[in-house]
């Protein structure tokens, strides 16, 4: 049996991530992307099936909800929680991480605005990194909601920002603080007082033992 949903004609593999493969192809005469969660041989079958099913359903739901909140996300055409397949519209554009690797683009503020809108809609993304943002004509499209959830806990939103900050730090060295400031500016501009309280929580997260950076002061 093919790993692809019925009727999907694969053109080429776009990305092989940790948990899913992303394929470009055609489906019902449209250019689409198929995201197929792979079964993991290292974990027990029962756990594997549970993870694939719950994340596939959750991702499809959250992509839809984010769109309702005014955040550009792909359109979902087909979902199969058993095989872990989602067929969605193809987003023409460049991943933010790739874009920032070559030159400084003034899109981080926009990315911050999108994160702010997402959180205002009570959605945490779960893996908010520049790899999961596609830039198209200056607009930022959010992808990969597989680890997201509906929540109103400030902590979850602060975790999103923490993941973003850390991935900027690890990929962009000396530029990371400039990038982060732009992102934060957009986030606050969009979310106002709510955004400020998330940022305060983020400071608390950083102040906790595990994230606290101490110098080797003698």
């Amino acid at each position: 049996m093919s790993k692809f949903p019925e009727g999907f004609e694969p053109a080429r593999s776009l990305y092989v991530g940790a948990e899913a493969e992303i394929w470009l192809g055609r489906w019902m005469d449209m250019v689409v992307v198929a995201k197929i969660r792979r079964s993991k041989g290292y974990r027990p079958k029962q756990l594997d099936e549970r993870m694939i099913e719950s994340r596939t359903i959750r991702e499809a739901n959250l992509i839809h909800e984010a769109k309702s909140a005014g955040i550009p996300t792909p359109f979902i055409y087909h979902v199969n929680p058993v095989t872990g397949a989602i067929i969605m519209s193809y987003i023409y554009g460049t991943p933010l991480k790739e874009l920032l690797m070559s030159k400084h683009e003034p899109v981080l503020k926009r990315a911050g605005i999108m994160a702010g809108r997402l959180h205002e809609a009570h959605i945490s993304h779960g893996d908010l990194t520049p790899s999961n943002m596609i830039v198209r004509d200056g607009e930022v499209v959010l992808l990969d909601f597989g680890l997201g959830e509906k929540t109103s806990e400030l902590e979850k939103f602060a975790e999103d920002l923490n993941v973003m900050k850390r991935s900027l730090d690890s990929s962009f060295g000396e530029h990371s603080s400039t990038y982060w400031n732009e992102f934060e500016e957009g986030y606050v501009e969009c979310g106002g007082d709510f955004a400020k309280s998330v940022l305060e929580r983020l400071d608390e997260v950083w102040a906790r033992g595990r994230y606290k950076r101490r110098r080797a002061d003698d």
């Binding site: 940790a18 290292y42 974990r43 027990p44 975790e159 993941v163 060295g173 950076r213 080797a216």
Partner: protein, 326 residues
Amino acid sequence: MISIGIESTAHTFGIGITDSQGKILADCRRTIKPEKGGIHPRDTSRHHYDVAPDVLKEALGQSGLNLDQVDIVAFSRGPGLGPCLRVGATMARAIAVAHSKPLIGVNHCLAHLEIALKLTGAKDPVFLYLSGGNTQVISEAEGRYVVFGETEDIAIGNLLDVFARSAGLSFPGGPKLEELAMNEGKLIDLPYVVKGMNVSFSGLLTMVQSLMQKERLEDLAYSIQEVCFSMLLEASERAMAYLGKNELTLAGGVGANKRLREMAGKMCEERGAKFFDYAKEYYVDNGVMISWAGLEHFSSGDVLPVESSKALQKWRIEDVKIPRRL
């Protein structure tokens, strides 16, 4: 060049002697075995004080050397339990001053990773570093080790020890749970929490403790291992995909778990990456890794003045520049 390394961050007091070719000339260790409860910092430091002279004698005997023939003195400066760290630091300073040898302060986490590289020949892996106090997904970026993911609450080893203790098993709990989990049991539905490359175990701990009266201990042990290790490998795989790296290495005491190593091998095989395994005794805390990292630091010119060699309980691996590899 010959280096003596002293390890005393937590439960183990160890002394290792190595030369710059990587030959292990001595490897002696003593681990505290509390009759009940966990590792109390004060009691553990007393244990270390008591065994330190014997371990030193034994190590020198094994290597056939005296302290004047040693070129550098390295010690585990942190992170770890303060009172325990101070035992190793005190001994290291004493040797360095009495025999006029350079003193090297080694970051314990870095030493785990450096010895793994030395033993496996891995070039640029993602490290999954798991112990009683640490749960981190680490990789090198721009001359430093960067923590890409870690636990948001308790460490994996801490989870295993605390659970084992509530089940009436003595320290260290990990190996005892590993034995109980040997046979595939019933998989109990437990909270699986992965956020990006971070993990969280506190909810899972609360749940397994509340299930203790209802479920068989074997099934709980089996389920804890399967669920927690799956989470950790997912976080590691995410780091490998994100960084485009295709090597994986485990380090730290929990890394020695057979089931975890098997799962790590399988994960790498499925994604066309390579898992680098090594001898179990170097996963756990030891003096050899401190001695080895000491040599690397010395060749990079990182000598520590005795007067500013205070132990650093919360020393992050990210604050250390990676030494030159030998």
